[in-house]
Symmetry: C2
Subunit: 157 residues, 2 copies
């Protein structure tokens, strides 16, 4: 362990942890650590927020002219399989991905006016999970909560 001295929850710590997790995932499966995968991971973690695949491609291609979009799609799927990313679909036709930051569970507020997507947290969710297990015998793995409406800025205008 190289970052013993750092506070355990720091940004850098988290990101390094995710990189480690990904490298481990690759080697465990006989997959390879390539230049492209590392570039995509760095860029993805640097953005540090949900991002559309085509946006990520654009950002990547700005620096790396011949990065194939197929590679980006394939790599993002690997991120999800390794557990360091989550796939998001808000139903507008674009798939988004975001880093999985443990202990930072959040959901999304989508503004119907400006289309901005805001993250928010709520404690009411965990209770809900328990309720579902009890009433439906359904084992909950993931929970997706999305609220649409009008955001503060757009209400004011």
């Amino acid at each position: 362990m190289l970052n013993e001295g750092l506070p355990p929850g720091s940004e850098v710590d988290l990101k390094n942890g995710m990189k480690e997790t990904f490298q481990q995932y690759l080697s465990e499966r006989g997959l390879k650590s390539t230049l492209q995968r590392n570039i995509i991971l760095d860029t993805f973690l640097h953005i540090d927020r949900h991002v559309r695949v085509d946006d990520l491609c654009l950002i990547l291609r700005a620096e790396h002219r011949n990065m194939g979009h197929a590679t980006v799609y394939r790599t993002l799927k690997l991120f999800v399989e390794s557990g360091i990313a989550r796939e998001l679909r808000f139903g507008d036709g674009f798939t988004r991905y975001e880093p999985v930051t443990e202990g930072k569970q959040h959901d999304h507020l989508v503004c119907n006016v400006c289309d901005n997507i805001t993250e928010f947290k709520t404690g009411a969710i965990e209770q809900l999970k328990d309720e579902i297990v009890r009433s439906h015998g359904f084992q909950v793995d993931t929970l997706k909560l999305e609220l649409r409406g009008v955001c503060r800025q757009c209400i004011r205008q």
Copy 2:
């Protein structure tokens, strides 16, 4: 009013109300009530559950050989605009539509094993809406809650 005698919340009542709403929506906007639109609406209401567009097309084409899928897509969008239907996307690439039945708010449990989608109700949601308004100044119009995991049947097997 033709159905005065019926209990106000009955199936028939609800569906007739939705048909009326749709007809009113059309005439208000100078749009036309056509054979196809009425067939699609009847079939859609008869299914009475979320349905994939391509499934609905198949069902419709069984009876009406030359119903165009473009017409189905266009009509379903009209349903949403008129407020009698809701668009659902679970992120599997298929758009689904379901009738909006007021006072029957429900959400969805998606099983990762058998891919079945179950509807469920919970009371915890309304509190959550209020919480969001207070803490984020966000005016909530619609709320989408989706839980993924393993359903009762699949747990048993």
